[in-house]
């Protein structure tokens, strides 16, 4: 089972240039400079591989903060 720290750590590891310490559950990840559709694909892949949850790109688009994404992943997992 995953916890929030693990989720944030995995999420931050998909970014190359952004400092990992700035990621919290309230981070609006779409406003980061490094955010792009390619990173979004990397995150979708990470969620499928590490947590076994397949999200569609549309579901990914709807979530704004890490908390929303985390809740979405948890609800999908059940």
């Amino acid at each position: 089972m995953m916890n929030q720290e693990e989720f944030i750590q995995n999420f931050a590891s998909q970014f190359d240039e952004t400092d990992t310490s700035i990621f919290t559950m309230e981070t609006r990840f779409k406003e980061l400079d490094e955010w792009s559709s390619l990173i979004s694909l990397a995150i979708l892949n990470m969620l499928a591989k590490k947590f076994g949850v397949k999200l569609t790109p549309e579901e990914m688009k709807r979530s704004q903060t890490l908390q929303e994404l985390y809740d979405l992943v948890l609800s999908k997992k059940q």
Binding site: Q14, L38, L41, A42, L44, N45, A48
Partner: protein, 171 residues
């Protein structure tokens, strides 16, 4: 098709290529004319037809964009397999023949470029000789690919680096 690929071989250096036979010269003129016709042709099917006449292997249901440049001297070393798509302004090179004075450090060679089933080459990408693009791989816009790309992988940049693989998502 897997067995039919040509293999890498050495070719003459630039100075030696200037003494071509009539047959080779005619072949180069044919490749250049057909290449230019394919380059600016607005009709998708005709573009594919012109590239096939030049010698490029193009499989079924392939998309070739406008303003693509495929190697002029050795187009027969380029293989684009079924369902792949090569978008506008891409450049695929298959050979490299430097001047003779560089022969100590660089080898003149021609090597096959293989774009496997379902791969996407996005606009303005450049693919260098000897590169193999894996099945369903994605090469992001403006990338310069100099190493092989594995299956189900997204690469980006110059030189192209792996961003992520997405096999889990497509299964």
């Amino acid at each position: 098709m897997e067995q039919g690929f040509k293999t890498e071989k050495g070719i003459p250096y630039y100075e030696d290529t200037q003494k071509r036979s009539i047959g080779q010269k005619l072949k180069k003129i044919k490749n250049t004319l057909l290449g230019n016709m394919a380059y600016s042709c607005p009709i998708k099917k005709l573009r594919i037809l012109f590239h096939r006449w030049r010698g490029v292997y193009i499989g079924k249901n392939v998309y070739i964009g406008i303003h693509c440049f495929f190697d002029n001297l050795y187009p027969e070393y380029i293989y684009i397999l079924d369902n792949a798509s090569v978008n506008a302004d891409c450049m695929i090179l298959a050979h490299f023949n430097p001047m003779k004075r560089f022969s100590q450090i660089l080898s003149a060679r021609v090597a096959p470029v293989i774009i496997n089933e379902g791969a996407i080459i996005a606009v303005r990408s450049t693919i260098l000789p000897g590169v193999k693009i894996g099945k369903n791989a994605i090469v992001s816009a403006g990338s310069v690919v100099e190493k092989d790309v594995p299956d189900y992988t997204l690469v980006k940049g110059n030189p192209a680096k792996i961003i992520t693989e997405f096999k889990y998502l497509m299964e």
